[in-house]
Amino acid sequence: MAEKTALAIIGGGPAGLAAAAAAYDCGIRDITVFERDNGLGGILNQCIHNGFGLHTFGEELTGPEYAARFIEKVRERGINCETGSMVLSISPDREITVVSKAKGLRVIKADAVVLAMGCRERPRGALNIPGFRPQGIYTAGTAQKLVNCEGYLPGKEVVILGSGDIGLIMARRMTLEGAHVKAVAELMPYSGGLKRNIVQCLDDYGIPLLLSHTVVDIKGKRKLEGVTIAEVDGTGTPIAGTEQYYECDTLLLSCGLIPENELSLTAGIKINGMTNGPEVDDRLTTSAEGIFACGNVLHVHDLVDFVSEEAERAGRNAARFITGEGAKKNSPDIHRLIAGNGVRYTVPCTVDTANTDGELHIRFRVRNVYKGCRITVSADSGVIVSKKKRITVPSEMEDVIIKPDMLAAVAGDITVSIEEESV
């Protein structure tokens, strides 16, 4: 006979913790958080730099401090957290198979599930970088764990490929630990990370950022000896003759994060090809009834503050589902959200305007750098919201908030698009 829980939360990082606390505050008491690591807090535990919490708490916290606030919330509420517990699969009717050292292999039936598994880094193999496969190549997050949690500096002469935020943070971190970061190469003509990280982590330390550059060869059979970096053309193809050799013992990769949805696939959940996360409605419900998603498993966020906010909404809506206040199925007022001109994706993918979850938060990323532009949200019934932006970049998530009353009269699909305006 399977065990039962009202709400199962998969992941005890920032998303899972915020979802758990929010569901509790909506009256759900039988909550279980499953965390595969031996402690709560997720990836924040290795993010010992500050800059977290400006939006949520109005102050700058380190990652562990930010996590501690939410761990405290969960503890205060007496929410059951099972650490060292890895969920292996979820059936479409929410039977969860979980394994742990303490309790062995179990099946637990949940009334609702919140997916909060986070994301992983794109490994070297997925980048198709040719060359040898020596010791000394790490994803930036792995290096962050080695330096910050294990107290081990993996190398002294460092090159970083990719300008994702973790890579930028690690450029500074390795420098502070005494390593020499020679360059950060970025395939795209723009940075993959936040502007503030470029300034605070590269510029302040004189670390060059080579835009439109990539690693084309890796030397060293057993230990990394060096990498060759070349400039790329508009299609990302290396330009012959621009190769430059950098002697180094460490190559860090910060080339994108991938939402970790292998579990979601076991539940048959529909995945959005753009975000690599589940397709969700405005209540963050996936295509599987009673299964919600939030945080980096849904789409990769720039700031943990936004993860917490989104996760609280997922927790609230999971609670509403359990208490039977869920959205009616086949409502005539379900509108699709379409990623229009210049927009890569939107979260959510649909909204039920007759049954909203308060304000509609549309989060999206743009395809390119747009200067002096206008973001427009429109439907067949006309323009819903339109706002000017000085600049938008793919590395910074955009959002538009639409008030419930503005949604009432909407007809047809809702399209989010961006247009550059002539200055």
Binding site: V99, K101, L105, E121, P123, N128, F132, K221, E262
Partner: protein, 465 residues
């Protein structure tokens, strides 16, 4: 220290030979320059148990391929090797190529391959819906299979060890001398004496041969590059799909692996650098382009890693397995290119027969042919898994999340005989770090375990070598 047989090279050939010879009252030593077994060609190949239609009838390759293939089912059971006889197809693209398929079929039949038949487009598609649109016909070989080459090599080594064979790793052979009653083998770790020396040195087999024998063959490493895709792409095909060799060269295969990934490759490029196991942009691009000729819907976005291996291509174009004419007691097992992995069990028997002409062989009373692998919890039925975790709770603590490998399995891989000493060693034994994140999440913990178990510093743990 005097051994009856010293085997140079702990790849699949050397380890299979060691295991076979360990049935007899012999003192055996396997020497390898690397810190682990399976560090050369055996770890970077197509992982196919070939049916045997490819080799020229009458060659040693043809004979040992078919024999080795036939031995695999029993061997996989005895040694607990992941092996599946999934079958293979060789596809062609136009009617004019049909005679070539027919040639392969008759060659296969002459070699003794069973069950070969030509399938029309529709029959082939019924079996493999993702065959490319312009596939015209296919040769079907039901006896072809897929194997885990790491575990196959390790299984031979572990079982040989269990039956008394010794291993000297991280020892490079620097010279071999003939003595009055045998050989002296000099290594970077010291000197050993042997009645007979068996050269299983892969891409260095000619160098080892030339240390004591007259030059009679050479090895040209032939580099092959591969792409490995996520398990989510593993069902793109159910069988190994070969292309008919054309003037443009031997085609690229598309195959599921024994663990459910999808493998594409190899390229074929001769090199004179015996250490050149790097991949190249051109090579990886060509694997993508050519694999798409035979199979459609390959999700190239799901590549998780790429690698390259060196086939030990001999100048005679056949396996060279013989006692040297002049230097009696020195046995070559050289030029072991494809189908070397498939042939390994048969090569071992062939070597045993040669050895029996040098040293009288007496079977051991207590030879144990059975080797039990590390339990694979992720692929176990739930009840069995639950029961095992009750007995060993650390089998419930997942360390490698992508492959669902537990702390207990990793511990086993380090603690067992000939256990892992490096990250790659753990990876080859239990697949921790072999999945889609490529060790991003689990390596700090695995390093920690390796450091603790070996009593070395965190920074002292190596990826390989």
């Amino acid at each position: 220290m005097k051994y009856d047989a010293v085997i140079i090279g702990a790849g699949v050939t050397g380890c299979a030979a060691a295991r076979e010879l360990s049935r007899y009252e012999l003192k055996i030593l396997v020497i390898d320059r690397e810190s682990d077994v399976c560090e050369g060609t055996s770890k970077a190949n197509s992982a196919i148990i070939h049916a045997g239609f490819d080799a020229e009838p009458g060659t040693l390759k043809a004979q040992l391929n078919v024999k080795g293939n036939a031995m695999m089912t029993a061997l996989a059971g005895e040694l607990d090797i992941p092996f599946r006889r999934v079958g293979a197809m060789v596809v062609c693209y136009e009617e004019s190529e049909l005679p070539k398929l027919g040639e392969l079929l008759s060659r296969g039949e002459r070699n003794g391959v069973e069950g070969l038949k030509i399938l029309g487009r529709d029959e082939a598609l019924a079996l493999e819906p993702n065959l490319a649109d312009d596939v015209y016909a296919a040769l079907y070989a039901p006896t072809s299979g897929i194997v885990c080459p790491f575990e196959m090599t390790l299984a031979f080594a572990e079982n040989a060890y269990r039956n008394g064979a010794e291993f000297m790793l991280s020892a490079e052979v620097t010279g071999i001398e003939k003595t009055a009653d045998g050989f002296t083998v000099n290594t970077t770790k010291g000197t050993v004496e042997a009645d007979c020396v068996i050269n299983c040195a892969g891409v260095y087999a000619d160098k080892i041969h030339d240390m004591i024998c007259e030059h009679s063959f050479s090895i040209t490493p032939r580099r092959g590059e591969y792409l490995l895709l996520d398990k989510n792409a593993g069902k793109t095909v159910s069988r190994t799909i070969f292309q008919l060799p054309t003037k443009m060269g031997k085609g690229i295969l598309v195959s599921p692996t024994a663990h459910g990934n999808l493998l594409l490759g190899p390229t074929a490029e001769d090199t004179d650098d015996r250490e050149f196991t790097a991949t190249t942009r051109e090579g990886l691009d060509s694997v993508k382009k050519k694999s798409a000729l035979s199979v459609k819907n390959i999700p190239y976005g799901q590549v998780i890693t790429s690698f390259s291996g060196l086939r030990a291509t001999g100048s005679t174009h056949d396996f060279i397995i013989r006692e040297d004419d002049k230097v009696k007691g020195f046995i070559d097992a050289a030029g072991i290119e494809s189908p070397g992995l498939t042939s390994a069990p048969a090569i071992a028997l062939y070597i045993r027969d040669i050895v029996s002409g040098i040293i009288p062989l007496k079977e051991k009373a207590d030879f144990d042919p059975v080797r039990k692998g590390i339990p694979k919890l992720a692929s176990m039925p739930a009840e069995e898994r639950a029961e095992l975790i009750k007995q060993r709770p650390d089998y419930g603590q997942i360390v490698c999340r992508c492959e669902q490998i537990s702390e207990g399995e990793i511990l086993d891989s380090i603690e067992r005989p000939l256990g892992a000493t490096t990250l790659d060693g753990v990876k080859r034994r239990v697949r921790a770090g072999m999945g889609r994140c490529q060790a991003g999440f689990c390596s700090p913990k695995v390093i920690d375990m390796l450091a603790e178990k070996q009593g070395i510093s965190y920074g002292g743990v190596k990826k390989n070598g």
